[in-house]
């Protein structure tokens, strides 16, 4: 029910008298007189979408969502979630934040700009790199943008190196982003869920623009040789890019101290629940590349009263000014998700971030050691340090195990004929023991 006739959008506030007065003013008889679309291209039909009430839509969509099987997810593989404090939802849903546009008028947008500045500062603290932009779309597109940045820094190089265990989706996005850059994307080998340094060294030459590494990687393992890898890269004049996330960075050595030049990732591990892959691309780099960076940057300046003020800055890099010569085509980004990340991180504070990150080490340790006691199950597959997830090898085929676990109410991913990826965080930790029991039954 609304105040207005049912043929009207519930979100157009015009009374019939308003419309009449406006038309009178314009000297028109009908709103249709404002449209001069040639008859040959007018749409004479209807979309056959009947309008519905809020209540009907909520009921209908809820019924559709109920068709999803209520499985307990032990899924990760590069996309993770943690419990979202209520503060994050309530503050981010304040309509000034939610319904504002990009801060092209900084004087009226100081609040949002300050949150984005605080987000950038968080990422700078975590990465140790001097520049963080205010967001990219997601993890995969951030890798693509990093590769393009490396191309702007050293235009004559022709190769990007990526791990052979990189998620195929990320590889595909990277290939699309670099399809015009003349880059060849080459895989380098990993061994036992870490980079195979010896083989990597042989692959290196001075045509490599950037090497991309991940920690935690697609197997949940922390990369133990980042410094060695960046040394190898720098010896050839190549850049070193690390894919990671803000929670892992809360305890991991600062990438800047390990020789990393660019950090990318999905910052929404803080801030968003599982949202079918939606995230926010993290992007940070050394200050030398400042004027080549993609995306929006918030900086500090002063206002006319000499007080500190915030504004989007270095906009001459961006598409609305530089058009085809912009550093990226990005316009709409993920600012509101970055805001949620900033609030979540602030809520946790340094103590909470470290505690949650510790859990990401302890829970996989606990789960893998329990699974490892099951006959025919080897967990974790390699002796690495794991963060949130790890690889399990089962004597049974992975397909068999996945199906049997599903019948018991659990979702896990297979990544090989006999290899599964098992992810555990605070969101599914209460199911740990029941999951171990189910895993045991399935594999006996």
């Amino acid at each position: 029910m609304t105040n207005f006739p049912s043929t009207q959008s519930p979100y157009t506030p015009h009374t019939p008298a308003d419309v009449e007065a406006m038309l009178l003013d314009l000297g028109l008889e009908s709103i249709e007189d404002l449209f001069d679309i040639p008859p040959s291209i007018q749409f004479p039909d209807s979309f056959k979408i009947p309008p519905r009430s809020e209540h009907e839509i909520k009921t209908e969509l809820k019924e559709i969502f109920d068709k999803n099987l209520p499985l307990v997810e032990f899924l990760g593989h590069g996309y993770y979630s943690h419990y979202i404090p209520s503060l994050v939802d309530h503050i981010s849903d304040r309509s000034e934040f939610l319904t504002s546009y990009t801060q092209y008028q900084p004087e009226i947008s100081q609040g949002f700009l300050q949150v984005l500045f605080e987000y950038q500062s968080l990422i700078v603290e975590l990465t140790g790199l001097e520049i963080a932009n205010s967001s990219m779309y997601d993890f995969a597109t951030s890798i693509g943008e990093a590769a393009l940045l490396s191309g702007r820094i050293s235009p004559t190089r022709t190769k990007i190196l990526v791990p052979d265990i990189l998620r195929s989706e990320r590889l595909s996005v990277l290939k699309n982003y670099t399809s015009n850059s003349g880059f060849k994307i080459e895989s380098y080998p990993t061994r036992d869920s870490n980079t195979d340094i010896e083989k990597l060294e042989n692959l290196f030459s001075d045509d490599v623009s950037m090497i991309y590494i991940e920690s935690p990687n697609s197997h949940g393992a922390l990369e133990e040789s980042i410094k060695e890898i960046s040394d190898i890269a720098h010896a050839s004049g190549s850049l070193c890019c690390l894919g990671t996330d803000p929670l892992a960075l809360s305890i991991l050595e600062k990438p800047s101290s390990l020789g990393v030049d660019i950090v990318v990732g999905d910052a929404s591990v803080l801030g968003l629940p599982n949202a079918y892959g939606m995230g926010v691309g993290l992007f940070a780099c050394r200050s030398e590349y400042l004027r080549k960076v993609p995306g929006r940057l918030v900086g500090i300046t002063k206002d006319a009263t000499n007080r500190r003020a915030y504004t989007l800055t270095l906009q001459t890099r961006e598409q609305h000014i530089r058009r085809e010569r912009a550093t990226s085509n990005i316009c709409t980004n993920q600012a509101w998700v970055a805001l949620r990340t900033a609030i979540h991180a602030a809520y946790l504070g340094p103590h909470g971030l470290i505690d949650l990150a510790k859990q990401c080490i302890e829970l996989p340790l606990e789960l893998s050691s329990k699974l490892n006691t099951i006959e025919g199950v080897h967990a974790p597959l390699h002796p690495r340090h794991y963060f949130r997830e790890f690889v399990v090898r089962t004597d049974k085929t992975a397909t068999e195990v996945v199906q049997a676990l599903e019948a018991k109410g659990y979702a896990v991913s297979s990544i090989g004929d006999h290899e599964l990826l098992i992810c555990i965080t605070d969101t599914n930790a209460s199911h740990l023991d029941a999951f171990v029991d189910a895993f045991k039954e399935v594999n006996s």
Partner: protein, 478 residues
Amino acid sequence: MSNSPPRYDQAKWTSQSVYEPLLSEKNMTEVSLDDVPLPSNLKRNSLTLPSLSEPELARHYTRLSQMTYGVDSGPYLLGSCTMKYNPKFTEDVAVLPGCSIHPDRAPHTIQGTLEILYALQEHLATIGGMDAVTLQPPAGAAGEFTGILIIKAFHESNDDFSRNEIIIPESAHGTNPASAALGGYKTIEIPSNEQGTVNIDALQAALSENTAALMLTNPNTLGLFELEIELIASMVHEAGGLLYYDGANLNALLGRSRPRDMGFDIMHYNVHKTFATPHGGGGPGAGPVGVVSKLESFLPAPIVIKTKSGFDLSTPENTIGKVHGFYGNWLCLVKALAYILRLGDSGLLDASAKAVLNANYLGSKIQYEIPFRPFYHEFVASSGDQDAAEVAKRLLDYGVHPPTTKWPLIVPQALLVEPTESENKSTLDQIAASFNAVLIEDQSTLKSAPNSTASARIDQTAAARFPILSWHALDPSL
């Protein structure tokens, strides 16, 4: 009620040198990592970040929200951005329990999620007149890039490798040339004619065997309907090119004319414009792409298909691959579907009617010159002797989020005004009164504006000259 413009005062907390202090100025804490069970070469020594309680944070962010202006605060005239009202119930829909799903779930376990996506694909296809839709691109520019990749793949599939040019009108959005360049195309800019629409002679001269596509917005960024669109389409097709529709201005045409019927082969939709998903201070949005059947096999992978037993994910035969790590901005897609269902045919038609009525009514009430007519949902006024950027700053004092300024370049001192369908007559009267008040104000008043926003006029040049991009740069001790 009088039509004199209202006075606006944005909430703020002012101290000697700052407004709201940074979190880092409230309570920074350094925490050591001694008890983290990792070897010392893998972990950092300590973490230094603000450490504050929930009540302190709630107040910090609430103050910052009050120093931010959204559509719920007042009119938002940014042209080509379609800042319409964002219905509240769609936020509730996006937090329904079934919405929170991991992207690696097997299709047969998430039939509900796939059904939602399929329904949106179908509705968008219908609304654009297209044969198939991908929901993957996470923003309008990502949609453009997706379109460019599809255009390239299409020509190459015909062994046509010489088409290396994309034609773009000079009034196009900046993302058009940026996306084309990202896809490896040379962009050919064509001027407008005296009426402000596509210059047919210039188009003819630009078209050649090198033309991959023409990217076009309709109505264009002057708000003008391209009346010769059918001729334009046949010229582009004749030359072997494809016609790309930038969906930024689709709101003007909902239910009245579909891009397909105008001759477009490929288009993107901006759900954060046309379908009312909130813009969140810059994003997220979503930029689904629709195509005619001959381009369907090139769509990004996967798309949702309907099978005998339900729904499944499918990889198009000649797919360009992926443009997002997963399935795009899922939460925005759910909200867009809810909005489309809420309005239905009659509501969508009413939205375009009122959007165009509002622009024309407002245009008739403001005394700035509007050189190009007749316009649809937006118009470009010229502030003449006044600097458009100064006019914008002064409008802030009247509680109006100003139009897009100094763009498109075709009008000197351009004010690109898009009131959307969300404003009523009395608000439009007030907006017009604000414009007209600014029109007769002297230069010093304009130069000293704004006075009623949280901060006074900001020095943007200094920000770029001495970039301070984190609290570390502000305070070297951090």
